[in-house]
């Protein structure tokens, strides 16, 4: 209830800034027009495009990042072997690889998923590795005493104990993935909310561009709710 009032206040503030010409009326349409533009027929398709690229990328990152993170956490040698490489690749902003992906793979959903996957990989990898490394030795000792060894020990004790940390990584990755998905659409014209917003802006359909932003925000909010 109070939260809705907060949203109402946000809309009110927007209208106030508009009518006071703090926000240029040309690029800040009335909230009613934005609301009306939410019915734009292209919007659901664009939302689906972003959602699919995001989900595919996140899935890709999880299927590589979590097992690799477990391996890095368990084996000091594998960890040592890959640390330098990880440390060099990780700071590269994923969006910097957009041109590479376009050149190597070409435009399309696969390219987009790969970029999202690259961005999401690092938080998942790092938090899984830390989670596994931080598992209370008492737990693994107990598991060993109860007869679990090797993979079985990892699957029944180590990974479950590292789950909270993996979840943290997943949360970070999920919101980062959405950022990269939208950025990729913006830069390459892949179908999705980013491209929708850019197109509407170029066509002078400013309320529709804002409607795209609102939907992107709602999508982000949803992702946040689902992962936390």
């Amino acid at each position: 209830m109070k939260g809705l009032a907060g949203f109402a206040a946000l809309v009110g503030l927007w209208e106030l800034l508009r009518s006071a010409h703090v926000l240029p009326p040309g690029s800040a349409p009335a909230s009613v027009d934005i609301a009306r533009a939410l019915g734009n027929p292209d919007l659901p398709g664009a939302t689906a495009g972003t959602l699919i690229a995001w989900a595919a990328g996140l899935l890709l990152a999880a299927s590589i990042g979590i097992p690799l993170g477990v391996l890095l956490g368990l084996s000091r040698w594998v960890d040592a072997a890959l640390t330098a490489t990880v440390d060099f690749l990780r700071p590269i902003p994923a969006v910097a690889l957009i041109p590479v992906a376009v050149v190597v793979i070409g435009l399309g959903a696969g390219m987009q998923a790969l970029l999202v996957g690259f961005a999401c990989l690092w938080p998942l990898l790092i938090s899984t590795r830390f989670g596994v490394r931080d598992v209370d030795p008492l737990l693994t000792e107990t598991g060993r005493v109860l007869g679990a060894r090797g993979l079985r020990l990892a699957a029944t004790v180590t990974v479950p104990a590292a789950l909270p940390s993996i979840r943290t990584g997943l949360r970070t990755a999920a919101s980062l993935g959405l950022v990269v998905a939208v950025a990729t659409e913006l830069a390459t014209g892949s179908p999705g909310l980013g491209w929708f917003i850019a197109q509407q802006q170029q066509a002078g359909q400013i309320p529709a561009a804002y409607a795209g932003i609102v939907v992107a925000g709602l999508l982000g909010y949803l992702v946040h709710l689902v992962t936390s």
Partner: protein, 244 residues
């Protein structure tokens, strides 16, 4: 020994890249030596510094605003339930989504780029500030009151670890926004350079640009960690003792 192994593996991967580049013929994977040679074509003054400057300016403005707003909202306890959902929504908007509109409103200027970087970097710090301020130990505030000190003198150091954790996330987002804002409607900067290189099939230069971006990312992260360790030495030590 282990450090050496890591470097060895990295060197091996670079070697694979080099060999693949020399034997392949697609032109998409130029040998790494070509990319490194192309580094010379990147002018630090006109290509790198403006980008880095905009990113740092936007980051600094965003983090400062986020800290001020976050601590204020967290401190005004009654306010929080009213503004929280609206804040969570605004925070959830993927920052690149506002770029087209920002270009429209502010033009393709440095100011616009700094604004979108700041707006993106602000949120992780703001939300961390709200949560941490609400969680400040009431006992600290009692001690401040009984000592006739202003609450802010204990709130700020108490929430600093959370603010810095938020700033660390903000740093990554600032770099993303730096690159993407230069890829749309720009005529200079590293993002522009990389995209332009791709469009003109100067593939080696494209990789050189990415290497520079990687180095830049590595450098700012390293400086950030250094500052963090200095400012939060007490916090790290305490965690170390609590953990071991």
């Amino acid at each position: 020994m282990k450090r050496l192994l890591g470097l060895l593996v990295a060197a091996l991967l670079l070697l694979v890249w080099e060999v693949a580049g020399r034997t392949g013929d697609t032109g998409l994977f130029p040998p790494v030596s070509d990319a490194i040679a192309e580094l010379a074509s990147i002018d630090p003054w006109t290509d790198v510094l403006p980008s880095a400057g905009r990113a740092l300016a936007g980051f600094a403005i965003g983090v400062t605003l986020g800290a001020l707003l976050g601590v204020t909202i967290g401190w005004l306890r009654g306010l929080e339930p009213w503004v929280r959902p609206a804040l969570e929504f605004l925070r959830a908007v993927p920052p690149p989504a506002v770029l087209p509109v920002a270009v429209l409103a502010l033009g393709a200027t440095s100011g616009m780029r700094i604004t979108v970087i700041a707006a993106a970097a602000m949120w992780p710090v703001l939300i961390a500030g709200v949560d941490a301020t609400r969680a400040v130990e009431p006992g600290y505030l009692d001690v401040a009151r009984i000592s006739h000190a202003r609450p802010v003198s204990v709130i700020l150091p108490a929430v600093l670890p959370a603010l810095i954790a938020g700033a660390r996330i903000a740093l990554g987002i600032a770099l993303i926004m730096m690159v993407i804002s230069e890829m749309t409607a720009a005529t200079s900067g590293l993002g522009y350079l990389i995209l332009q290189a791709q469009r003109t099939y100067a593939i080696a230069q494209m990789y050189a640009g990415i290497i520079v971006l990687g180095l830049l990312g590595w450098l700012v992260t390293a400086v950030f960690s250094l500052v963090e360790r200095h400012v939060l030495s007490w916090y790290e030590d305490q965690k170390g003792i609590a953990g071991g």
